[in-house]
Symmetry: C2
Subunit: 126 residues, 2 copies
């Protein structure tokens, strides 16, 4: 059977899902507590709305993020949350953050809870 | 001073260096023992030569890979090797590999040494 990925390498395959400049920035924002589209759009990196919409669609289609639609008639917007597979990206983001702190000068300090968190912690938040 | 990155977030900044489909595939190949341009070009993902050349240039300019030029007059080609900062990407690749093995079916088995390796191990190889 033809594989949908470039190879069966776990690293190369995963990078076809998360290997771009923005996908893991969106995941980071969700891990830090963003829940709405406007929360995500308001991240300091100033993601363009078409890129954000595309990445959320991709993340939903890969089963890493799920959205709860807005309640009918209300003014509330939809909410986005990590799935189990999405929360399991946490060790990747922790490793990227550690590398960035070690090798890029003058970055913001990563909050202590982030280093100590587990994927399960991200799923238990209200 | 204006920052060269989108924000001072360590994750978002690092992704401007490694956040694409190919950069960490090249790093993976170097970690698995590739040393020459043709080794890298021969990886199973069939990277295009213009993309490989671009990523190697970027990796050298960021100080993650260094190249030793071919000796004059010989038939030997240049050699690429990870710098300390490049070898320090290992925990990111280990985390990506673990996520890929856990969430993508039917990937190749990651060799045991890879899980147990440290960045320093990658620098000590002949």
């Amino acid at each position: 059977m033809a594989d949908q990925f470039r190879s069966r390498c776990a690293i190369a395959s995963a990078l076809e899902i998360i290997g771009d400049k923005w996908t893991l920035v969106v995941i980071r924002s969700l891990m830090l507590g963003a829940t709405s589209y406007s929360d995500l759009l308001g991240a300091p990196e100033r993601i363009a709305t078409n890129i954000l919409a595309d990445r959320l669609n991709r993340l939903e289609s890969w089963g890493l993020v799920e959205s709860a639609p807005a309640p009918p008639g209300g003014r509330a917007r939809g909410r986005y949350q990590l799935t189990t597979a999405g929360a399991d990206l946490l060790p990747i983001l922790q490793a990227i953050a550690a590398w960035g702190e070690a090798h890029l000068p003058d970055r913001w300090r990563v909050p202590d809870w982030f280093w100590n968190a587990t994927p399960n912690d991200l799923l238990k938040r209200p």
